[in-house]
């Protein structure tokens, strides 16, 4: 398949990229790893007039320690996230989720920030970003601004990013020592989730002191299972507590509702154990 004609731009700084985006107007599109955008272009489901390739912005790659939080560059590839020791030590959930993204080729090209901006409700990284209170650091013509994940994901394939803005960094608080698990149900390895649940749990003295639960592909964007979290905190890390709490992941009787409950129970069980 062949995409429609577009102008290709390759900025060398974030500011230059932002300027280009403003100059090219609303029909321009930023391309990061291209793992979601290129198929869409090839099928002509989208036909941007210009692609601004931020692959040359090395300042946007890598994970930095920023005190109480980590800063993950938007252009950090999934492969790099999988192998980063800061992520492993302080945001284990992100590593475990990223391990399940697509296949090795895609994980070498696809980027952490690109997945978040694409905002496919079946995308794996949205739910953990939401559950871990990630904050998006965005560059635009007016400078930098920060948007929490809870406000960033707006709807199917829609984020709070304005057409002239670029996601540059993601701030993720440290969850050092938390247990984590991503329970994903997909039909074949390279398919998107039907439903998946991202869970992170802090256990001290046999009791759950804090919990985060995010749901993938249950709604038009990622969902945070606040009721589940509330039912866990302060309770013993027992099978009974987890089963009871997991029932609050969804109230409906459809297949996805059932999966939300079942997979939440499994994710929490594994997170507590791990």
């Amino acid at each position: 398949m062949i995409p429609a004609e577009f102008k290709y731009l390759f900025p060398s700084t974030v500011d230059e990229a932002v300027r280009m985006l403003a100059e090219e107007g609303e029909d321009a599109k930023v391309i990061a790893g291209g793992q979601s955008l290129v198929p869409v272009l090839r099928m002509r489901l989208a036909a941007p007039t210009a692609l601004i390739d931020i692959g040359g912005l090395t300042e946007l790659t890598g994970v930095r320690d920023d005190g109480d939080s980590l800063l993950i560059g938007a252009m950090t590839t999934h492969y790099e996230v999988q192998r980063d020791h800061l992520i492993h030590d302080h945001a284990l959930l992100l590593k475990l989720v990223t391990d399940t993204v697509a296949d090795p080729q895609i994980r070498h090209r696809g980027t952490f920030g690109g997945s978040l901006c694409h905002a496919d409700p079946a995308g794996d990284l949205l739910a953990p970003a939401l559950a871990l209170d990630a904050v998006m650091i965005i560059a635009g013509p007016g400078g930098r601004r920060e948007v929490p994940a809870s406000e960033f994901f707006v709807d199917y394939f829609t984020t709070a990013l304005a057409p002239d803005e670029i996601l540059i960094d993601v701030r993720v608080p440290k969850f050092t020592g938390w247990g984590a698990h991503y329970e994903k149900l997909n039909r074949v390895a390279q398919a998107w989730s039907i439903v998946a649940v991202a869970a992170a749990v802090q256990v001290s003295g046999g009791a759950i002191s804090a919990a985060r639960v995010g749901l993938t592909n249950v709604g038009s964007g990622p969902l945070r299972a606040f009721e589940v979290e509330a039912a866990l905190v302060g309770q013993p890390a027992s099978a009974e507590v987890i089963s009871e709490a997991a029932l609050r992941a969804s109230a409906g009787d459809g297949y996805k509702d059932n999966l939300a409950r079942v997979l939440t129970g499994r994710a929490l069980t594994a997170a507590v154990a791990g």
């Binding site: 869409v40 984020t159 149900l185 997909n186 398919a191 039907i194």
Partner: protein, 808 residues
């Protein structure tokens, strides 16, 4: 010339073609770059059924790089009708099948206009500038509704019924009357199964290049059938056959999906003739899924009559087979290939098969790995399990009770075939042993008793298939338009090297390796000294190509006969050279010798003598080449026993295959590595039908699975480690003893998986689950809810982008 140290036949050689295939050293059709080449892009109807009221090409014509924009009207006088080579009945309805639609479209994806441009990019851009007005017609999708004839796919035909084809064992004298058996049966089981529509997902998309030169046309195509294509292109376009050269270069998979004469092949040829320049067309994956033929798509109604002791006395099969909108090369015959296989390995007294072929507004169906036989095997293996459940018998016991015993071969079946050989007991015993059948049954009982979340199921599939297509007289009796023979030539070169020319057309099977092994053994030449030429009608002028597990059993046999001719002539010349009587000449390890003496001439010596022709026996022609054509007397009948253990997660509906054993009897094995590869790939495709793949349409007839994000082809990550083994009962119908292995895995595995999943959840009240057994379908069945079929939840991905109308 020295002999090879160990026999080549049976040796697990690495494939000699692989180095070039996996290192980018071959030229696929799309890699061809010819001077002055134009690129063709095809505009396809987005609508399943409509009259075309207007086509405006003016904007597209004026776009940069566009040479011409063509519509069906432009070709109406010359495009003819795409061929259907299998009119299964005298009164079969066959609508005209234009390569480019004229006035009406009958499926979404049908070609309606062409852009010819100087680059593929510009051709694709201009497609969007063609304006077409459609006047929509009612869409016919459901086969049972189609048979009401309320709305017609082809109004001129007056009906959506294409043909009805019947086999009846009583009428054929092959068995008793099935209605009598049903009437007097102690047990009657009726079931209806749906064979979902599948898409052959070959790795290399289809691609065609046509180069015209002074009245000659060279056609490169990613096809399985260069010889048939040449014949048919000539028949369709009127271009004389000797002015056409068809080349199938290395071809990346087919699975029956490239057993076709496609609209695009015809159109590329016509455009090249019109423009006087080379033309290339290469499809995208979505284009492939929207327009290349699909497979399966049957509704199978089965009635099985049995005694309470488990003896099956009769089987009645009533099929509806979806043709799609047109009859392609062998579309109507695919379900008929299954007609002979519903009785499988069993001894039924009576059998009746009635197949009704139906037109719908969908992509035409045609051959897909197994072609009719997987459908048949699925149906009977499901029915044998249903009978076992009904009678409370062990499912393997039911099979054993009914199958043909090894001492009963050759066996004339109730479907009128003669099975030459087989040993179902041996294959089954080996499979049961490898599988650990009894231990798994115990584990299953434990999980049932404990009410485990993950239940265990065991599925059985004992199968046979008719391969080695095919005896020409049988094809003639079935009204197929061609023969089933195959041909081979051996050219002995003066340096002793060997060129083999085969009429088979490998597209991933490894013929170059195996044909070299056969020749190396027969002639006593090194494996490396043999080169196999194929897929070019200029070098191999005749052949029936590759499909239906035929290449080795039929084409390999032709090769053996050619080798025998070479040796016969060489023996005569060797006797002349050694001045002895021919009866005293012995041949071993590539050398001729005079019995009881030390006089020796190598085959190379003899070949050179034949080539220089200085001193030949009276009347002998120079050279040492030989041609042979083999027409088999009978099909070959591979068989085997497959056992599948699945773990079914009752909370999510997810199915995981925990153990899979395949014991196949494919006759004498030439190269075990290649056989294993064929079995593994076949299993993957059969398992995919059971669990993953399904072509679906919305109510407008739009294919909703037109990308690999929506049409789920499994990868190695989704499949278990297969335990494979073989028993060997050589075929008696060819000197190699080979039966064919291309389709076995696909045919056997689908029912093994489905039987296994049902076995895991039957005690929970589940009687059936439609294929593919998606987690949602399994879970829904476990809730005791009716399966609403189309109500699959979106799993995200590209399909959901489309459904949501674009992305941010």
């Amino acid at each position: 010339m020295t002999a090879t140290a160990e026999p080549e036949i049976g040796r697990a050689r690495l494939r000699k073609e692989d180095a070039r295939l996996i290192t980018g050293q071959t030229t696929w059709t799309d890699n061809l770059q010819l001077t002055g080449m134009l690129h063709m892009a095809v505009l396809r109807s987005p609508i399943a059924h409509a009259r075309i009221t207007n086509i405006d090409v003016s904007r597209a014509t004026s776009m940069p790089g566009v040479a011409v924009v063509l519509t069906g009207e432009d070709f109406a006088a010359e495009q003819g009708s795409l061929p259907c080579a299998w009119p299964i009945t005298e009164d079969m309805k066959a609508p005209p099948a234009p390569a480019l639609a004229v006035g009406q479209v009958n499926f979404a994806g049908e070609a309606v206009a062409l852009v010819i441009a100087d680059s593929a990019y510009r051709a694709a851009d201009a497609l969007e500038a063609i304006d077409i007005d459609y006047d929509e017609l009612p869409v016919v999708l459901d086969m049972e509704e189609a048979l009401q004839d309320n709305d017609l796919v082809h109004a001129d035909l007056g009906t959506n019924k294409c043909a009805t084809w019947i086999f009846d064992s009583a009428e054929a004298g092959a068995g008793t009357n099935v209605e009598d058996e049903i009437a007097s049966a102690e047990v009657v089981i009726e079931r209806t199964f749906k064979q979902q529509r599948l898409i052959p997902a070959f790795m290399e998309p289809r691609s065609v290049v046509v180069a015209p030169a002074a009245g000659m046309y060279t056609v490169w195509s990613a096809t399985q059938i260069p010889h048939i294509l040449r014949w048919m292109l000539s028949a369709v376009t009127g271009i004389a056959e000797h002015k056409l050269r068809v080349i199938a270069p290395d071809v990346g998979g087919g699975f029956g999906g490239k057993l076709q004469v496609t609209p695009e092949e015809v159109l590329c040829l016509l455009v090249a003739r019109r423009m006087g320049r080379p033309v290339k067309w290469t499809e995208s994956r979505t284009e492939s899924m929207l327009s290349a033929h699909h497979g399966r798509d049957q509704i199978q109604k089965l009635t099985l009559a049995a005694r309470r002791d488990g003896t099956v006395t009769g089987l009645k099969v009533e099929l509806l087979a979806d043709m799609g909108a047109y009859l392609r090369l062998v579309t109507p015959g695919v379900p008929i290939l299954g007609a002979f296989m519903f009785n499988s390995i069993y001894k039924f007294a009576a059998y009746r098969f009635v197949c009704t072929n139906v037109f719908t507004n969908k992509v035409p169906t045609d051959a897909y790995r197994g072609a009719g036989r997987p459908e048949a095997t699925f149906a009977i293996e499901r029915m044998m399990d249903e009978l076992a459940v009904e009678l409370g018998m062990e499912p393997m016991k039911i099979r054993e009770l009914n199958w043909i015993k090894h001492e009963e071969f050759p066996f004339n079946t109730v479907a009128g075939l003669t099975y030459d050989s087989g040993n179902y007991e041996a294959a089954t015993a080996r499979a049961m042993e490898l599988f650990g059948y009894e231990e798994l049954r115990e584990e299953q009982a434990r999980r049932r008793a404990a009410g485990s979340v993950v239940q265990l199921g065991i599925g059985i599939s004992t199968y046979t298939e008719m391969c080695g297509l095919a005896p020409s007289r049988v094809l003639g009796a079935l009204r197929y338009a061609a023969g089933g023979w195959e041909t081979a030539s051996i050219r002995m070169l003066p340096t002793g090297k060997v060129e083999v020319i085969t009429g088979t057309s490998p597209h991933g099977q490894g013929h170059e390796t195996v044909w070299s092994q056969i020749v190396a053994d027969r002639l006593g030449v090194p494996f490396e000294d043999v080169e196999v030429l194929h897929g070019d009608t200029a070098t191999s002028h005749k052949g029936m190509d590759s499909y239906g597990s035929r290449s080795l059993a039929v084409g390999g046999t032709a090769l053996v006969h050619a080798a025998e001719k070479v040796l016969a002539k060489a023996r005569t010349l060797a006797a002349h050279m050694m001045e002895c009587d021919e009866s005293d000449v012995e041949f071993a390890a590539g050398s001729f010798s005079v019995r009881g003496t030390s006089t020796v001439r190598t085959l190379g010596d003899v070949v050179l003598a034949a080539h220089v022709a200085h001193d030949l026996p009276e009347g002998m022609e120079p050279g040492m080449d030989a041609d042979a054509t083999f027409d088999p007397d009978n099909f070959s009948f591979p068989h085997g026993t497959h056992l599948c253990a699945t773990e079914v997660d009752t909370e999510t509906g997810m199915v995981r295959i925990s153990r899979y054993v395949a014991v196949d009897d494919v006759g004498t094995v030439m190269n075990p590595l290649i056989v294993d590869g064929q079995v593994h790939g076949g299993l993957a495709q059969g398992i995919a039908q059971a669990l993953y793949e399904e072509a679906t349409h919305d109510e407008m007839g739009t294919l909703t699975t037109a990308t690999f994000a929506d049409y789920l082809v499994p990868s190695a990550a989704d499949l278990p480690a297969f335990l494979t083994d073989r028993t060997t009962t050589p075929a008696t119908s060819n000197p190699l003893g080979a039966k064919g292995v291309g389709e076995a895995g696909t045919i056997a595995s689908t029912p093994a998986v489905v039987n296994s999943v049902l076995d895991a959840v039957r005690h929970l009240g589940v009687r059936d689950i439609e294929m593919p057994m998606s987690p949602e379908r399994v879970w829904t069945a476990l809730q005791g809810r009716p399966d609403e079929g189309a109500g699959e939840v979106a799993a995200g991905g590209l399909g959901s982008i489309d459904a949501q109308g674009g992305q941010s």
